[in-house]
Symmetry: C2
Subunit: 250 residues, 2 copies
């Protein structure tokens, strides 16, 4: 009987090729699996709640792994894993869960945060942690337009292709909160699930509204009449730097 | 007639050997002087308001430089310099000032912030930006003891030697503000000037009070009867990572 360990993982995405394991790339999943293997002396698969792209950060990604025996307490697992991981990845918490729990399939929702720094110069301590937008943004327009995303919609026009197209592109956004603190605009989005690059394409659309090149009606139109296939609208996707996975809800 | 340019400079101290120019080291002053030299085609000396050590950050360090001619507007200087600087150093603002202004000698005071992260695990996005203290800190004890620093004192016992000893070790602390946000304790200290490692030694003393190994009376005693010479009390100096130069007052 193997024990299932649930992990809360935080990382600075700047120096990794994203979450998901890739041949010859440095990913967060790879680093975690390597650490587990060194402790357990056998290959251990780590299942994440979802992928994050290169450069995307996580305050609390969630994952699970099936381990050969309860050799450690959860707190010991935290320190054993952190002792082998680079400081840009940290296991914040661990606990044993039942075999019914699955980091990906049990997830009921996620919260993402996107940070925009709207000023002439990006402070060095914000480098890699915010999208630097120099042109002046109309905060009120962004805050109002962001509410168009609220509710259940077909988000096909706010997604990019990743290999096989998603068969179901309907998602529900439960809350969108837009705040401002000095030059920093934070957009928190909570939903039952997210398509590939969805948050970044939502924020890309909001930025165009903020500089008056588009309006809330364009968001409404894209949600109401999504294109047949998820065309890669890369030009409207905000960069990875400003995106944070805040938490996964179960 | 040369023009004196005042600069507000922000930096992530993690990858630099501090502010002050050193042979064969990468310092912020060196990087700025190299950028000026490339633009002006002659060596330009940059004068900072004060040194910061390796690993110490600045939200708004202040500096000045005397330039051969007013070839650019202040905004052009900002973008020309930033175009040559690494993203970990940014000139936030520039303006021309009179020859009476001197970044160091005109300074009337400085504000420093020190950040302590008091939790079992340091989140990766806080790495290099806070002192990770695992043992539980008593916030109220720290906040109360910090007020002992308020006012004019001989801070010799809260300084380390750097080459020749300081002849005058009297400094005035105008304000100490201690705040808590979740596991983060921030200590803002405003004073007319600071001795070498002074803030880090003040915070080192406060941490010992927070874990109940010392008391506010020890701070009082060290301020009232400073040792003859500034002995290197390295063991009580908090690490550089958590220290931020917030602003320089003129």
């Amino acid at each position: 009987m193997r024990s299932r360990l649930k992990l809360i993982v935080s990382y600075d995405g700047a120096t990794f090729s994203g979450w998901q394991s890739q041949a010859n790339r440095s990913t967060i999943q790879d680093r975690l699996e390597t650490a587990f293997e060194r402790i357990c002396s056998e290959p251990i698969r780590v299942h994440g709640a979802g992928r994050t792209d290169a450069g995307v950060h996580a305050l609390a990604q969630c994952a699970h792994a099936d381990l050969p025996a309860r050799r450690y307490t959860p707190d010991r697992w935290v320190s054993a894993l952190n002792g082998l991981l680079p400081s840009a990845i940290r296991v914040m918490q661990c606990r044993f869960v039942s075999q019914e729990f699955h980091a990906r399939f049990s997830a009921r929702g996620k919260v993402y945060r996107y940070r925009i720094w709207n000023a002439a110069v990006l402070p060095p301590l914000e480098s890699g942690r915010a999208w630097h937008v120099v042109r002046s943004l109309d905060f009120d327009r962004i805050a109002a337009a962001a509410q168009e995303f609220h509710g259940e919609h077909d988000f096909r026009a706010f997604s990019a292709n990743r290999g096989t197209p998603e068969s179901n592109t309907i998602r529900t956004i439960r809350a969108v909160r837009v705040r401002r603190a000095g030059p920093c605009i934070s957009i928190d989005v909570e939903g039952d699930g997210f398509l590939y690059k969805m948050v970044r394409m939502m924020v890309g659309a909001l930025e165009r509204i903020g500089v008056n090149e588009s309006s809330a009606r364009e968001i409404k139109a894209r949600l109401q009449s999504p294109p047949r296939s998820a065309i890669s609208r890369g030009r409207t996707a905000a960069p990875a730097d400003g995106l944070f996975l805040v938490r996964v809800r179960y």
